[in-house]
Symmetry: C2
Subunit: 150 residues, 2 copies
């Protein structure tokens, strides 16, 4: 059955896509003095503004302890500040520094640029078809993950 082999070959490509994408992104981060996890913290702050560590932990799906360590590292390297929360004295408020803001701006710009590089030259018809297939595959995978968790 050729279809079966085609399906596996296509899946190989999907896996490779995930790997290559990961490698490409990690590369740029190293140059900025960041790791993937620390960047995720910055990304949440970029989108949601100053946040408590609890919010960061929930947004990232990670333990509170883990966030403590990530924020420690980001404070030490000047990307964020950790300050007392103005109204809840148990909580800390994590805020991007100016350096952090500049960095997330660069990340956002690079992200948009990569999206453009990947798709700008693609004929509209193929682009739409690709996105449709992507949605389909994503939906299937999301369902599997949800089932595994539920």
């Amino acid at each position: 059955m050729t279809a079966r082999r085609d399906h596996e070959a296509a899946f190989d490509r999907v896996i490779e896509l995930a790997l290559v994408l990961n490698e490409d992104m990690s590369h740029g981060l190293g140059a900025l003095g960041l790791t993937r996890s620390r960047t995720e913290v910055l990304w949440v702050l970029h989108h949601r503004g100053p946040s408590t560590q609890r919010i960061l932990a929930d947004a990232m799906g990670v333990s509170a302890r883990n966030v403590t360590g990530l924020v420690d590292a980001l404070v030490a390297t000047g990307f964020v500040t950790r300050e007392p929360h103005p109204t809840d004295r148990r909580a800390a408020l994590v805020t991007l520094t100016e350096h952090g803001e500049r960095t997330t701006a660069v990340l956002a710009r690079d992200y948009a640029e990569l999206a453009r590089a990947l798709f700008a030259d693609m004929p509209a018809e193929r682009f739409e078809c690709f996105v449709a297939g992507l949605e389909r595959v994503l939906a299937e995978l999301r369902e599997r993950v949800a089932a595994a968790r539920g």
Copy 2:
């Protein structure tokens, strides 16, 4: 410009695909008593047969020290054996145990089954178009990674 926003939205999906795929695969591995890195070792052995640690390190793009630790763990959990190399007394030969063979067989089957689940219901036309788009995106990303390394 709507195209620009569409490109970013599509790229968002690609990123999500990588994340969800990662999560789905990691889930099953935990149940088998494996991690991603250890599974990668098994996968190389499955495809290339008994191998020295040097070969494993090169195939995985990882340090020799790292492979020592991964193989230690896989030996301790009964997936592989580490034996003296028959002709080169410096080297160790890593081989799948019967348990390791059964495990890689299961992984291969699950892999094929997931590929089927993702694509079997997709109309041939859309499938082809999706694969074409995928190849395009992959080619672009491979080039970027190669450029970053070179």
